[in-house]
């Protein structure tokens, strides 16, 4: 069994990727712990940018089943139209027209169940791919990459997560921004969730949305405040009032931002930031050790 840590934020640009990649690389310093990083931000996976010597070891295509209507067999009864939750089917009996719009279709299969005339044909349409990389550190990186134009983020994330071996000691899921279905798919089964927030008005607003979501799901979570020094102190007040654990703070640093822009986020980083990660890791260690099934860990 792997210990699954998800990194999410609500607001974009708070530092999910930075925290994910840093934790992944730092966990590597612990001998004998197998860690895999999984980039679930399938619309724009960018963890790979920070592994300049990574090698692609495998690519697997992911498809969705898309239905089509055989108008020879269709009796234009409109039963499939009633079954379709996504308004993807147009059936016009008067002009003998029946069509499924693939961009609205969610591949749920309800139309096949509805059809009594065997008029629904299925074909496979690619929605993206899963890329596996070997990295210098740990058990490597896996990412989902959505096909341009596809709206099947959630399905691709689900398939990506299914492919990750449970033989890892730790799996880090880097979530997409936002609080919608792709985020829920990424975080819902994690053992621990790290919310990366920034101390700004927007940062706090979106953190509140995220906290409401994770409380609804019922996940154990803590907050890392990134870019400390920007904005104001309202976020601290919020965390205290809501009894939310502050896992660590990462100071805002122009020097670090320029290193980041050059693709360097883990090596030559300012001492204060290095220290922040050490503290976050120490807290995480305690979480993992208290987690049931912790006997798998070789600390």
């Amino acid at each position: 069994m792997s210990y699954k840590i998800a990194i999410a934020s609500g607001k974009g640009g708070t530092g999910k990727t930075t925290v994910s990649v840093n934790l992944f690389k730092r966990l590597n310093e612990r001998q004998g712990t197998k860690v895999q990083l999984v980039d679930c931000d399938v619309e724009e996976p960018n963890d790979i940018i920070f592994f300049c010597d990574a090698e692609v070891i495998d690519v697997q295509e992911v498809s969705q089943k898309v239905p089509e209507i055989d108008s020879e067999k269709c009796t234009f009864c409109r039963k499939c139209v009633e079954y379709c939750e996504f308004n993807a089917i147009v059936v016009l009996p008067t002009v003998s027209f029946a069509e499924i719009n693939p961009t609205l279709c969610h591949s749920c299969g309800a139309c096949s169940v509805a059809c009594e005339d065997d008029a629904i044909i299925k074909y496979y349409k690619p929605i993206g791919a899963i890329h596996y990389y070997k990295t210098k550190e740990n058990n490597g990186l896996a990412e989902g990459k959505l096909e341009i134009g596809s709206t099947m983020q959630t399905k691709l994330i689900r398939e990506l997560k299914k492919k990750i071996s449970d033989q890892n000691d730790i799996i880090i899921y880097d979530a997409p921004p936002g609080t919608s279905c792709p985020v829920v798919e990424t975080i819902h089964d994690s053992d621990y969730l790290i919310l990366v927030a920034e101390p700004t008005l927007f940062g706090l607003h979106d953190l509140k949305l995220m906290v409401a979501l994770v409380r609804e799901i019922g996940l154990e979570f803590g907050v890392v405040i990134n870019k400390v020094g920007l904005g104001d102190n309202d976020i601290y007040e919020y965390l205290v009032n809501e009894h939310i654990e502050l896992l660590g703070e990462i100071p805002f640093s122009k020097e670090y931002a320029s290193l980041y822009a050059e693709g360097e986020i883990t090596g030559e980083i300012p001492e204060t930031i290095h220290q922040s990660y050490t503290e976050i890791l120490d807290t995480l260690n305690l979480k993992m050790m208290h987690h049931e099934g912790n006997h798998h860990f070789k600390w």
Binding site: F86, N87, V90, T94, F97, N101
Partner: protein
């Protein structure tokens, strides 16, 4: 010939609704009889496919022309397929009656 005008209310004095798929009502104006009937749009709050469903309804009612503020790509494809003419009116402050007057003229 029948024309649909997207409407925010159930009668001719109602404001023209610039939304197509999420318009509250469809005013079906018959150019021969000069009469209009109002059909409620049941998909105003649909999560997806409101435009597609509105276009399906339009074709089903054997309408040849639709007047609205704009048309999304999926609705446009379907309306095009059945040769329904799309007319875009961008006036914010116009009633259904005023549009009908222009059609009669």
């Amino acid at each position: 010939m029948k024309t649909v005008i997207t409407s925010s209310g159930e009668n001719n004095s109602a404001q023209f609704d610039k939304r197509f798929g999420r318009a509250a009502w469809f005013c079906v104006f018959d150019e021969e009889t000069k009469e209009s009937i109002f059909v409620k749009n049941t998909n105003t709050n649909a999560n997806n496919g409101a435009g597609t469903k509105a276009a399906e309804r339009i074709v089903d009612m054997n309408v040849q022309k639709v007047i609205s503020g704009d048309f999304g790509p999926k609705a446009k494809d379907l309306l095009d397929k059945f040769n329904v003419q799309m007319v875009i009116v961008q006036d914010n402050d116009v009633t259904v009656q005023e549009i009908i007057e222009k059609l009669k003229a």
